[in-house]
């Protein structure tokens, strides 16, 4: 699981070009709240494509994305629940 968390962090850092910001947030920090990483819907699409490429998991629609992309931990949980990683 720690390995998945690290790979999710790596994904955020490289796909969104946010290496420094990602280093500074916790696994439970809200990714989209202005008080968190402050991501937007374009970043969400980028993450969905990145997750599919890196882990082979499919985020089907916006509703699933809102749930799965809440934090680094929720992304890692989703990857694990899909039997990937």
């Amino acid at each position: 699981m720690d390995d998945i968390v690290q790979r999710v962090r790596q994904l955020l850092a490289t796909r969104l070009k946010l290496a420094k910001a990602v280093d500074e947030i916790g696994d439970d920090t809200p990714l989209f709240a202005p008080t968190g990483l402050g991501l937007d819907s374009i970043d969400a699409l980028e993450l969905v494509l990145g997750l599919e490429k890196e882990f082979g998991v499919v985020v089907e629609d916006r509703a699933v994305a809102i749930r799965v992309l809440a934090s680094i931990r929720t992304i890692a949980d989703f990857v694990q629940s899909q039997g990937k990683g």
Binding site: D40, S41, D61, R62
Partner: protein, 118 residues
């Protein structure tokens, strides 16, 4: 939308294109921003008929060679995926088989693509 969908469009660049008159005087060169616009319009062909879309992001745009009157620009666009009203595309423009420009673009279907923190 289904990832992997592809479309190809062709634009013949001629000296009569009005934007070439001043870009640049005596040295006509198709503006890079119009190559990107051509990619965006081509990508729009992959969206459902009747929907309209606007550019939401241009990423990693590169302009490798000048495009001049007489060139036939071939624009190839592939959809990479979508979420909500947003769709991401990889686009490549080429002349005589050589890449002249490439970019990744995101289109937002009008009315759905507003920035909404979700």
């Amino acid at each position: 939308m289904t990832p992997g969908k592809r479309v190809v469009a062709v634009k013949n660049v001629t000296g009569g294109d009005p934007h070439l008159q001043g870009h640049f005087p005596g040295n006509p060169l198709m503006p890079g921003v119009l190559l990107v616009e051509a990619m965006a319009q081509t990508a729009g062909l992959l969206l459902s008929e009747g929907s309209s879309a606007v550019l939401a992001q241009i990423r990693d745009a590169r302009f490798r060679r000048p495009v001049v009157p007489g060139d036939q620009v071939r624009i190839e666009v592939e959809e990479l995926g979508g979420l909500g009203g947003l769709h991401r595309f990889a686009a490549k423009a080429s002349v005589d088989g050589s890449t002249v420009a490439e970019a990744e673009i995101v289109l937002a279907v009008s009315g759905l693509g507003r920035k909404d923190d979700s």
